[in-house]
Symmetry: C2
Subunit: 142 residues, 2 copies
Amino acid sequence: MKSDTWLKELRKQGYRLTEARRAVVETVAQSPRALSPTDVYNLSKEHYPALGLVTVYRTLEKLEELHLVQRVHQEEGCNAYLSEAEGHQHLLICTECKKAVYFEGDDLGDFFGEVGKAHNFVVNEHWLQLFGICKDCKRICD
Amino acid sequence: MKSDTWLKELRKQGYRLTEARRAVVETVAQSPRALSPTDVYNLSKEHYPALGLVTVYRTLEKLEELHLVQRVHQEEGCNAYLSEAEGHQHLLICTECKKAVYFEGDDLGDFFGEVGKAHNFVVNEHWLQLFGICKDCKRICD
DNA sequence: CTCCTTATTGAAAACGGTTTTCATTTAACC
DNA sequence: GGTTAAATGAAAACCGTTTTCAATAAGGAG
C-alpha cells in the first residue's frame, strides 16, 4: 500500500502521524490524477471531516520535500500534486479525465545535449510532458 | 521592429493604440527573457510613468490572444510572458540570466506517438522545455 | 497506563497576485 | 474641433496561500 510507505517515511523523518495527515496521504497516494490542494481537501474531508485546508498545504509541502509527490503543471493550473515516479520519468496526461501516466524518456538526453551545443548552452535539466486522450475517454468521445 | 508589428496587429484587430499600450508592447517585444506582469510594469513605467498595473494585465491578455506572446512556466513561477516564436518551437532557458531561446523539435513527434501508443493514448500536444546555462553566464561561473 | 513535552491542528487574520468596478480620459472616426 | 465608445488608473473585491495563535493530541519517559 503506497500510503503506508509514505506514512512510514514521514515517521522516519520524525514527523508525527495524525488522523489529518493520514487522510491527506491516503487521498493523494491513491489518486490516478494530480490534485490541487482544494481537491485534496474536499476528497479527504469525506474520511476526516474535521480536516482544515491549512493542514492539506502543510502535508503536501512535506510530501514534496520527501519526493513522494511532485507538483504538476497543466493548462488549468500549476498547483496540482501527484505521486512521484521512481527514477527520472515524464508524464503523459489525459486532457479529458486528467489521468496521469509516467513513461521513460532516456533516449532524449543526447538530442537535448545537441540542442544545447547548437545554442551554446550547457543543458542540465529538461521538462517534458505529453497531453492526449486516454483509451477510456476516447471511447466516450467517439 | 517587432513592437511595430505587434502594434499593427493590435490595430488590425480593432484595438486602439495608446501610450500605455505602446510602452507595454515595447517592453515585452524587446525582452530576451520572459517577464512577469510586475516586471513588465516596472520596466514600462520608466518610459510611461503614469502606467497602471491593470493595463499591463489587460495588454498581456490581448497579446496572448493574438499569439504574439506566450506564457512561460519556470521554477520561479508560471506567469511570465515571452514573445512567441513562429511555428512550433520549444524553449531553452538559462537558469542564471533567464535568457530564452527557441529551438526546433520536429524530430520528436514520432517518439511521442510511440509513447502514446504504448499507453493507449492518442497524443495531441506536448510540452518541452530545456534548462541550462548559457555561454555568457558559464563564463562568469567559471 | 498516565504524565509531560512539543509538534500539530484548525480558525481567523494577513498577505500578495489578479480581476472587477467605475468615473475619467483619450483614440479614432466624422 | 466634436462625438462616441474603448481604454485607462485608482480603489475595491477576490481568491488562493501563508502566518499567527491558542487549543489539541502524538509519542516518549516514567
